[in-house]
């Protein structure tokens, strides 16, 4: 089934959560199952919305999930439950 924009955003956030709250860009690319260009677009959106933060490392960088991102993920779960309950 085709993923919606919000499904993709949640998949990216979950990928970060499952990695303990921080993930390397290459892992995120692999886990989110997106092209490099699309992932960059999504990362820019998530960063702008303060759902994730970029954390510079000695070599490269990490993406960390923010509290707002965790809250978004919880709300997404509720939204899916709502969708399932009412057959939306």
């Amino acid at each position: 089934m085709r993923r919606t924009r919000i499904d993709i955003i949640n998949d990216m956030l979950l990928a970060i959560v499952n990695k303990g709250g921080a993930i390397k860009p290459t892992h995120l690319l692999y886990k989110s199952n997106l092209s490099h260009t699309l992932m960059k677009e999504y990362v820019a959106e998530l960063t702008a919305k303060k759902l994730i933060e970029e954390q510079p490392l000695k070599r490269g960088k990490n993406f960390t999930i923010t509290e707002k991102g965790r809250k978004f993920s919880r709300e997404y779960k509720k939204m899916k439950e709502f969708q399932e309950a009412f057959g939306l």
């Binding site: 439950e81 399932e84 057959g87």
Partner: protein, 230 residues
């Protein structure tokens, strides 16, 4: 003239209490659906929320008009029930008719909205939606004279909504969907039980109880959704 007060005297006001609960449940679902629309920007949540907001407004209208009529009824009760009903309805007739029309129009429009969203026909052409809205309007206007029209139309909408929820249940086998199905089915039966209420006042009480049970069931489903954890 239509008989406005269908409730037995002892049930006056209790039914308004029931409807306040149903109004609150509908409003909760409307607000939650709107919140999900703000998160996802998906139109289906918006339309679903609007439909439930209309349902909540419909019940608010009904509670308000009923309470005013009941207040007049109780004030003039010393004349005996038949005379009191006549006298209560007489001066407030226009107000009550307008309230009743508003309630019925909002309810049927809300049910049409829920049907269109669930059947994924929200993108149906404007002419078809216009035609459906026309029938809803006709059913609402005529139902002020013949109550049967409103309850049958509402039951028909709820039947199709239940059928779609049943299809969803067969697909996902979810307990929450099963509860929603039970809720819509109870609401459908409540509309059918309202029909004989003109002749049998106790049917009105039973219908109100079944309707409340439907909304309480929906509230339980809603609570499960709210308590969902990652």
């Amino acid at each position: 003239m239509a008989n406005f007060i269908l409730s037995p005297a002892w049930f006056l006001g209790i039914d308004a209490g029931f409807e306040v609960v149903t109004m609150a449940v509908a409003a909760l679902i409307a607000l939650t659906s709107y919140k999900f629309y703000k998160i996802s920007n998906m139109k289906k949540y918006f339309y679903f929320g609007v439909a439930f907001a209309m349902l909540a407004t419909a019940f608010a209208t009904r509670v308000l008009t009923n309470l005013i009529i009941y207040y007049n009824f109780i004030e003039q009760n010393s004349f005996g029930i038949a005379q009191a009903v006549h006298q209560a309805v007489g001066p407030a007739s226009n107000f009550f008719s307008t309230g009743l029309l508003g309630y019925r129009l909002l309810t049927l429009t809300a049910l049409l909205g829920i049907y269109l969203v669930l059947s994924r026909k929200a993108k149906t052409s404007k002419s078809v939606k216009g035609l459906l809205m026309y029938f809803v309007l006709i059913a609402s206007v005529f139902s002020t004279q013949v109550t049967l029209v409103f309850h049958l139309t509402a039951a028909a909408f709820l039947f199709f909504i239940s059928m779609m929820t049943l299809r969803t249940y067969f697909r996902n086998k979810s307990k929450k969907t099963k509860q929603t199905l039970a809720a819509f089915t109870l609401l459908m039966f409540s509309q059918l039980i309202f029909i004989p209420a003109i002749y049998i006042p106790i049917a009105y009480v039973v219908a109100q109880v079944v309707q409340l049970a439907g909304f309480i069931t929906m509230l339980f489903t809603f609570r499960k959704v709210k308590n969902a954890k990652n």
